[in-house]
């Protein structure tokens, strides 16, 4: 039998309130800015250390300082509407269009795969097979058909981002439970209605997992596209800088690029919070 704590009762007659708050573990209580700064400092610190100890050649890894200086340079160019801004804008367009395309295709295929046995049995294996293939093989095809404009990069970006969305959507459609399915059957819902009004909302958390991974993939896809199929985007600037062994520039460019990636990811996360409002994402022990 569970042992009682030994304080004698009655001691608390005078206690007025035992209103309490969910205990929040230290690790969860750290404010965001502090936590981020901490990681930042650790990050930059080790980077500085690696370069200061000359563990690695400066043409492989620049120092944080060099990178910062170059970021200021690049930043100025961007702010004053220099050529880099144009390049960044091209890449941003590729990312946006690519993501939109990936969402449209990935979602449709995800529904096909998640909803029909045909999709699951016959389409999915091909999707997996295609997605494991190195994209270099397709870059020439995209270029041949779509040219060197942003179209071919959009296609490649979408290509890479599609698969996670397919997997997420398909998994989401499987997550509805027995009761909900039965309920929809008794309501005489058509397959389409069951899909749209029940399975999809239920599966949204999984769909968003796919979208988040896709959001990051689309960035990689656009840059890969620019590497393989040329063009005038940010990836091209990176490539040129890399071929010139201008590593501070390479790093400063990719840091700017990662801000774009963060923005896309943040947009997806924000949408998720708005759309899946009933599914409170709760973190840590301090959840009530």
């Amino acid at each position: 039998m569970t042992e009682f704590q030994t304080n004698s009762p009655g001691d608390f007659e005078t206690v007025q309130d035992t209103v309490w708050k969910q205990e929040i573990a230290f690790i969860d209580a750290v404010p965001r800015w502090l936590a981020m700064s901490f990681v930042f400092v650790v990050f930059i610190g080790s980077w500085q250390l690696v370069t200061a100890l000359e563990l690695v050649s400066p043409i492989i890894l620049p120092t944080p300082m060099e990178t910062l200086n170059d970021m200021i340079f690049v930043g100025k160019n961007l702010l004053t509407g220099g050529y880099m801004l144009g390049a960044l804008w091209i890449t941003i367009q590729e990312v946006i269009y690519g993501f939109a395309l990936a969402i449209a295709i990935g979602f449709s295929l995800g529904v096909l795969v998640g909803e029909t046995a045909f999709g699951e049995k016959a389409v999915m294996p091909y999707l997996v097979a295609i997605d494991t293939m190195p994209k270099v093989a397709f870059a020439p095809l995209f270029v041949a058909w779509l040219g060197f404009g942003i179209e071919s990069k959009v296609a490649l970006a979408a290509f890479i981002a599609t698969f996670p969305i397919v997997v997420g959507t398909a998994a989401g459609l499987h997550s509805a439970d027995e009761n909900a399915r039965m309920l929809f059957k008794t309501m005489g819902a058509s397959r389409m209605q069951t899909l749209i009004k029940m399975k999809l909302p239920t599966g949204l958390p999984q769909v968003f997992t796919g979208l988040k991974i896709g959001a990051v993939g689309v960035m990689a896809g656009a840059i890969t596209g620019e590497f393989l199929g040329g063009g005038k985007g940010f990836g091209e600037l990176i490539r040129v800088a890399a071929s010139q062994l201008n590593t501070p520039r390479v790093f400063s460019l990719i840091l700017y690029l990662s801000l774009v990636g963060l923005a896309v990811f943040a947009a997806v996360s924000w949408t998720q919070r708005k759309v899946v409002f009933w599914h409170k994402e709760r973190v840590g022990a301090g959840d009530a």
């Binding site: 039965m182 309920l183 059957k185 008794t186 309501m187 009004k197 909302p201 899946v276 009933w278």
Partner: protein, 269 residues
């Protein structure tokens, strides 16, 4: 099967047969549990039938088979002269677990069947009716609340509203009032009776409350477990409409006791 001869009989349901079950059996393939064995049953139009039986005796399974949600292993199920071979629109079903969708408010959940049957516009028009139903079940003021802010009993009541909104001709109810207090339950029983009479609906109710079964039903199907079979079908010859004060009449007590007796025996069977 012993008929309910012990009770004077008057006022059996007279409508045309709506549901016809013959020799229905169900074995769950996964664990070879025989949930139902040779269940035969006829429900007549406008009649109210209750099922009572110990936990696990196959009541929910029976309802699901009647609703065409799961196929029987053997036997015949005919509804309105048409064999049941899948879910049917003419049925309103309420499940044992209240399943409200968390992304919809109470009212949105309730008008969902209308939305599915007749589209968004119709659903919009049905909001007024949903409000009325919520009012009837004592949930006025909770129209726009999301399900996770409702108590257990409130969620159950909202589910009932969802089933009622389409005014189905046949109601299959799986312990719809289990999370309600006696008072609300009595009230809901009377409302259910009123609605069934108004719409001349045929109702089939799973319950664990003998009182509830007796006050509502024309016939009570008493089941015994493992495998689930019908022990006896008891006819309740209390006059219609039933009122709550009938519960204090000796006849009511008699029927309740008779059924309790059947259930007691069922345990050893």
């Amino acid at each position: 099967m012993k008929p309910a001869v012990a009770l004077e009989y008057s006022g059996a349901p007279v409508g045309a047969p709506v549901y016809d079950l013959a020799h229905v059996s169900k074995t769950y393939a996964r664990n070879a549990v025989v949930a139902l064995e040779d269940v035969s049953l006829t429900l007549r139009k406008g009649s109210f039938t209750s099922v009572i039986g110990s936990s696990g005796c196959g009541k929910s399974t029976l309802l699901k088979i009647m609703a065409g949600l799961i196929p029987p292993t053997k036997g015949r199920v005919v509804l309105q002269g048409v064999p049941v071979t899948g879910p049917r629109r003419d049925i309103g079903m309420m499940f044992q677990q209240a399943t409200l969708f968390p992304w919809k408010t109470a009212v949105e959940n309730i008008v969902l069947p209308i939305e599915i049957r007749d589209g968004k516009a119709a659903a919009k028009k049905a909001v007024e009716k949903a409000h009325q139903l919520l009012d009837v079940v004592g949930l006025k003021g909770f129209e726009n609340v999301y399900p996770n802010e409702l108590s257990g009993g409130m969620a159950q009541r909202a589910s009932i509203c969802r089933m009622l909104i389409t005014e189905p001709a046949v109601l299959l109810l799986d312990e719809p009032f289990s999370a309600l207090d006696e008072l609300s339950r009595d009230m809901m029983n009377m409302e259910l009776q009123r609605i069934c009479r108004e719409q001349n609906a045929t109702a089939f109710l799973v319950t664990h409350s003998i009182q509830e079964a007796v006050i509502l039903s024309d016939e009570i199907v008493v089941m015994k477990p493992r495998p689930g079979r019908i022990a006896e079908i008891v006819e309740v010859d209390l006059p219609r409409p039933r009122t709550l004060d009938m519960m204090t009449t000796p006849k009511f007590g008699e029927i309740v006791d008779y059924i309790r007796g059947l259930l007691d025996k069922g345990e050893d069977m």
